[in-house]
Every structure is written in C-alpha cells, then in structure tokens.
Symmetry: C2
Subunit: 215 residues, 2 copies
DNA sequence: GAATGACTTGTCTTAACGGTCAGCAATAAG
DNA sequence: CTTATTGCTGACCGTTAAGACAAGTCATTC
C-alpha cells in the first residue's frame, strides 16, 4: 500500500485529498452552479471540514478555476485533433468525434461545469477562449478548408461543422437527464453511448460526404 | 370566487410590469443561474424595489418557475412539429430546424435558463419532461420510424436524430459567447444565424439522405 | 524525542440573501 | 366625496454564506 517514492505520507495524502476535493467540487458545481455550491457543502461532500477545505483552496473562486482548468487540460490533451496524421479526413474526423464522445462519457461533470460557465457568458474562461481556443480553431478550420479544396470532402461550412460536432457530442454529457427521461433510462449506459456515437458519427460522415463503410 | 379581468389602468400596468420583471429575471437567471441571481438584483434590473418585486412574485422559486414556463409555452407552441401536414419528411424536418433555430435567435435567455436547468438535473422540470416531452417525443420518433419503413428517408437512428438536431440548434443560443469569440464577432448577427441555419439544415438533410437542391 | 513545519478544527465576524410586516399612496368603485 | 381595493415602501428579522484567526494535532527531520 505504501509507495516506494520520496513522496512522504503527507504529500501523498495531500494529492489524494486535493483531487478528492476537486472531484467533489466538480460534481457540486455541475449540479448547483457556482453560486449554488457553498464551500461548506463541498467540504461535506469531500468529507472534510470547511476550514480544511479553505486551507487547501484559500477561496471559492480559485477552487472553481482549478476545476475548470482540470477539465480543459484533459480536453486539450485529448483533442489535439487534427495534428499531423497520415490519416484520411474521414478517419481524422471519426476519431475526433470518438474522442469528444468519450470525454462526454468519462467526464460529464467537468463538461457540465464548462457548459454552465460558457452559458453564463464565460466570465472566467473568456480570455482562455480567445488566447487558446481560437488559434487552434482557426488552424483546424483551415485544414478542413484545404480538404474541401482538394476535393477530399464535400463542401461544408467548416466553422459550423465544428460547432455541430461539439454540440452533438457534448449534449450527451450536459443534457443527459433529458435523454434519460426520453429514452426511459435511469442512467445512460455503455450501450446508449455506443449507439449515440454511431448515430453522431454516421451523421457527420454523411455531412462531409464520406462513403460509410459501416452500414 | 372568479376573477374578472377588467382592463383598468392598474391591470394594464400590472401586466406591463410583470413581463418586465420576467424579462429581467430571465436575463439574470441566464447569466448567473438561479442561486447567483438575487431578488434584489432582479428588482434593480427591472427598476423596482425588492419589496415590490416580492409583491408581484411572492418568492424566488415561483418567479423562476414562471420564467421557465414562459419559455416552454413558446417552445410548445412553435414546435408542434410533426403534427399533420401533407409535407414531405424533408420539408417537415427543414421547417423543424428552422423553427428551432429561430427560437435560439429570438429567445436566447430563455434557452439558457432552460439549459442551466437541465444541466443541473432538471430539479424543477423533470416532472414536466416525463409528462409532456416524452409522450410527444415518442410520437415523433414513431413518425420518423414510419418514414424510414416507407423508404422516404435513410435509415437513421430516430432518437439520436432528434438529440442531434436539438443540440446543434440550441447551441447557437447557449454557447453563443464561444461562437462569438471563435468567429470574431461581438454579437452573432442575422447573417451568422442564417449561415448557421443553412449549415445545420444541410447537415441534417444529408443525414436523412435528402437530395439537396442547392448543391 | 524534541523542534519544525504541515495539517486540522472551533469560534467568530461581516455581509448578503430571502422574506415579513405595518403602514402609506394611488386608483377604482359606490 | 367616501370608501375599499390595489400597489408600493422602509424598517426589520432569521439564516446562511465566505472567510479570518488562533489554537491545537500530527508527521517528518534532526
């Protein structure tokens, strides 16, 4: 059970506790929003005292930013997207949709916190969107344009292609409750997600004019 | 004990003021969420005193429900969707996408409040989703299935077709800030929405296998 | 095994929030 | 005009929130 590292028992505990706090905070922010989540409630959910929570995260705003940053780090890592691959456009986009869908399935709470933030006008993330997301978006749009110019895919609107992919995948995290009701589930399971991914992938493939090899 | 609604000067004022309050509340709920919007802030935004606001809406929860209800009424009215028309599936779906897109453009705040609510697990609306939305959804899904069986459209996953359409259209209300950043706009204008609608419509048309007449 | 620094908690302050209530002001009805 | 109803306000209250602070506990290092 002990780790053979230079890390002390304390620092290991710290890491463990920090991430437990972050997960608790993420869940609460997702469900109740920023203002609706009190530090005390977050502390209780992480099974520590409020004062101890404040010791680890000196204020709520900072905790919120850390939760957002954690999610964004994961997204950036998983969605380097169009970066250099000898793959065909279809393969690239197929993989992109797959990754995005996985993220909705694996990190629904982070996704919801992000959604709340953007819907609220991105008071915290706006700068990040401008400095990080837009440049990457512009590059990716250019790549899609070049595919179109080379006749590799149909003539689609590149910007709105991305918007639609994002929306169609993210909705399985953010609006999961609505889908659970409509599909008559208590929770979306593996199977639902796999059907969803197939459906979305199929839509996108048709949109870009790919020959579907799976139907 | 029936109330006669006479159109006195007072009652006219009342209506005007009530809807002003609702608009203010809607905007604030959209931006700050339920907990983040104080009654005092809503009152200030509507240019009345907090006590006066409470006179019109005796508590916050009720005000919130009224805001949601207003939005849902509009949606239901506009999205009777597949109800009886001699139109082709393509025409019906095209109109559906158009209506949904219009709603995102005309009622972005209501849409955002709804989004916050669903993302938060629909604590207020869950019952409504079960009792109203699901039956309509089931009917609409059946219609799409029948179209497929008659060979009128491609074999798509009906449930997820709706989810994708909803997500792809609603995103233009909920995530407008993100798009503004990415498209380099300060506000999405008429033109952006028209491009967006074309793009989304085009995607959906291809997804259901309609021959597009403009490419 | 004591000093040191990391961790944890109890108590308190200050501010904001939702909501009440008594009474005043404006309008409508008789 | 008089009265009843409706609309509105100032003062106030109980609760909860974020966070400050001091004091205590525990693990690590010397």
């Amino acid at each position: 059970m002990e780790k053979k590292t230079k890390r002390t028992k304390q620092s290991i505990n710290r890491e463990e506790l920090e991430s437990r706090i972050l997960r608790s905070a993420e869940a609460l922010f997702a469900e109740k929003g920023y203002s609706g989540s009190s530090m005390e409630a977050i502390a209780m959910s992480a099974n520590i005292s409020k004062q101890n929570l404040i010791y680890y995260f000196p204020n709520k705003e900072l905790l919120y930013q850390r939760v957002l940053k954690e999610m964004l780090d994961i997204w950036i890592e998983k969605l380097s997207f169009l970066e250099a691959h000898g793959d065909t456009p279809e393969a690239v986009i197929r993989r992109y949709v797959h990754e995005k869908m996985q993220l909705s399935r694996l990190y629904p709470n982070g996704s919801k916190v992000f959604a709340h933030e953007i819907i609220s006008g991105a008071p915290v993330l706006k700068e990040y969107l401008i400095s990080h997301l837009k440049p990457q978006f512009d590059r990716d749009v250019e790549i899609v344009k070049s595919w179109i110019n080379k006749g590799l895919i149909q003539n689609v609107d590149p910007e709105h292609l991305f918007f639609t992919i994002w929306a169609a995948t993210q909705t399985y995290a953010d609006f999961s409750v609505q889908m659970e009701v409509l599909l008559g589930r208590t929770k979306l399971d593996e199977n639902d997600f796999s059907r969803a991914e197939e459906a979305v992938t199929s839509f996108v493939m048709r949109a870009i004019g790919a020959k579907k090899n799976n139907e």
